[in-house]
């Protein structure tokens, strides 16, 4: 009896240490959020902060061009990463045969995607600077920024697409084939609808990472001082949409929220720090919402499809 109490002592102490270590992490995060909220409070409650352009005067400066830029760049990034990511994921799960030369290529694709996920983000910035900006001559534009961030999001989307598809049992496919469906019929009518929740979760997680990404956009030359918005592609006359203007939007210089924050943090005047904190809080709230949404979706998908 006595021996037992001595030997089980570590089992009483260690969980307490472990829980305290976890509490340390939680308090780190709370401190971060509270510190930024307090520092930026003054600007956060000021409506003109959200509707003003950046300015030399900290009290007048706002994040209008920042959030418009972030929205446009993210729209591009989501478009491109889905365009490549979903088909690539479906291919690796549904079509890959792992035989012959094609099989070798498939293995390379798979390894490559794993490797891409771990490449430092700034390297993608250098890739974009060398390829999109200087070799393709796309300039330091919204289009370039969207393409750059889409490369960052791609591995996450491929991995999540594959996981979502892998959860669908073989019987569903066999059932479809049995009634004469082709592979594409099966994918379109069964695989895609059932895996949509999982793919969406991956998309949101990828987007929440990309929205706060700063380094690759600094490298491709995002500007910090943009006192205008891209032109609107919508017109008052028929057909209400101008392709020329839309191209102008894609090619216009841009700034995004994280770049704006970076610029404000680097300034010596303390007043700009308030702006940086306020914009940082806005960005933080966005990422919290996106991650919570992804978490909720993932739980729902798990409960909805129990095969």
């Amino acid at each position: 009896m006595g021996r037992k109490t001595i030997s089980s002592k570590p089992d009483i102490i260690f969980p307490i240490i472990g829980f305290l270590a976890f509490l340390l992490v939680v308090s780190f995060m709370i401190t971060l959020i509270v510190d930024i909220a307090i520092d930026g409070y003054e600007k956060l409650i000021d409506p003109s902060f959200y509707t003003s352009y950046p300015s030399r005067f900290p009290e007048k400066a706002g994040i209008l061009s920042g959030w418009v830029g972030t929205t446009l760049v993210m729209a591009g990034a989501i478009f491109w990463s889905l365009l490549i990511g979903i088909p690539a994921g479906i291919y690796l799960e549904e079509y890959a045969t792992k035989r012959g030369i094609i099989g070798k290529i498939e293995t390379i694709i798979e390894l490559n995607i794993n490797n891409l996920a771990a490449v430092p983000a700034i390297i993608y910035g250098l890739l974009a600077l060398g390829i999109f900006v200087y070799r393709f001559k796309l300039g330091e534009s919204i289009l370039t920024a969207g393409l750059t961030l889409s490369i960052l999001m791609l591995p996450v989307i491929v991995v999540n697409t594959r996981e979502a598809i892998r959860r669908i049992p073989r019987d569903i496919r066999e059932g479809a084939y049995a009634v004469g469906a082709t592979k594409w019929d099966t994918i379109r009518d069964h695989i895609l609808p059932y895996s949509l929740g999982g793919i969406l979760t991956g998309l949101i997680i990828a987007a929440s990472r990309a929205i706060g990404e700063t380094a690759p956009l600094v490298t491709i030359g995002a500007l910090t001082f943009i006192a205008f918005l891209p032109p609107s592609p919508f017109t008052s006359e028929f057909p209400f949409f101008s392709l020329e203007k839309a191209w102008e939007v894609l090619m216009s210089p841009f700034t995004v929220l994280p770049i704006q924050i970076f610029n404000w943090v680097s300034r010596p005047q303390a007043a700009f720090q308030i702006n940086a904190a306020a914009a940082g809080f806005v960005l933080l709230v966005l990422t919290v919402i996106m991650n919570a949404l992804a978490y909720y979706l993932r739980q729902r998908v798990r409960r909805k499809y129990i095969w």
């Binding site: 992490v25 780190f28 690539a88 290529i105 490559n112 490797n115 700034i122 380094a215 924050i261 970076f262």
Partner: protein
């Protein structure tokens, strides 16, 4: 009529296959593009600056009048910060991993995992702000002679940032150890802690270490926190109180200025980027290799 419909379906199937394969194939071009851009511009750099100077000089001053191109101050800065991050993250991560995998209830785990994983989702520029204006001022009260820009504060913050790798991935690896092995250990009279440390941890060690290495790799490649809070001063030092510059920090510094295409400054960021890519690639390959070993144990 029926036959042509089937032929059409078959053709459609082939087309879709081609499209999907192309999408997969494009991902390879991204890597080829990275290697091509980095290599071609880094080679141009080495035509103007011999590689011996890059590897032997002790100073890095490409933007000064007397240019020196020794990569070591940047490498030292990068590894100093990564080392501090690992020193903070590994003990903390290991304790949390053991706690979550061996002790915590399902409910605690369900709350803890998303919180820890959120650490990586926080925009790094926000971490940068927090490091410069909150962590450094507090550390200055504790550590004497700590400068406004230093490697200690960013290192500590990065240590928390990489916990998703050092804690969460390590926990995943330990969770993968079969329950029967634990039961056997308990049956011999070992405590939970004893079992965790001398049975579960060694069994899961390749996965745990893979997490540590991926975390270190993440700290090496991290840009904004160090660009904001570590200074812009290439400094060959191991003193965590002094301002330094990392490889990523240098790339940001040059990119912020107006860089003419093909100038020596423009080319230098590709040389530095290439070195960074190789370091990250080595770390990731080791981690992937270690992770592939997990399944071979049982």
């Amino acid at each position: 009529m029926v036959f042509s419909f089937i032929a059409y379906k078959k053709l459609l199937d082939k087309c879709v296959l081609a499209v999907f394969f192309t999408a997969g194939f494009i991902t390879i071009f991204i890597t080829i593009g990275i290697v091509y851009v980095l290599l071609s511009d880094a080679l141009k750099f080495f035509q103007e600056v011999p590689i011996e100077r890059f590897l032997t000089e002790k100073e890095w001053t490409p933007v000064f009048a007397t240019k020196k191109f020794g990569i070591w101050p940047l490498v030292a800065g990068t590894f100093l910060i990564a080392a501090i991050a690992v020193l903070v993250s590994v003990p903390l991560g290991l304790i949390i991993a053991i706690y979550l995998s061996e002790y915590a209830s399902v409910r605690v785990k369900e709350v803890a995992k998303p919180i820890i994983e959120f650490l990586e989702a926080v925009p790094t520029v926000v971490y940068g702000y927090f490091t410069l204006l909150f962590v450094t001022p507090i550390l200055q009260k504790i550590v004497p002679d700590l400068e406004a820009f230093n490697s200690l504060a960013p290192g500590i913050v990065l240590g928390f940032m990489i916990l998703p790798y050092t804690a969460s991935m390590a926990e995943d690896a330990m969770k993968g150890v079969p329950q029967r092995i634990r039961e056997a250990s308990y049956a011999l009279g070992a405590t939970r802690l004893r079992t965790a440390i001398s049975i579960v941890l060694p069994a899961a060690i390749s996965g745990v270490v893979a997490g540590f290495i991926l975390g270190a790799s993440r700290a090496i490649g991290e840009t904004m926190v160090v660009a904001i809070a570590a200074g812009m001063y290439p400094n060959l030092t191991l003193d965590p109180r002094e301002p330094i510059q990392t490889m990523t920090g240098y790339i940001v510094q040059v990119a912020l200025g107006d860089l003419p295409y093909g100038s020596i400054e423009y080319l230098s960021i590709f040389a530095v980027g290439f070195a960074l890519f190789i370091i990250a690639f080595i770390f990731n390959s080791i981690a992937l290799w270690l992770r592939s070993r997990i399944r071979e144990v049982y």
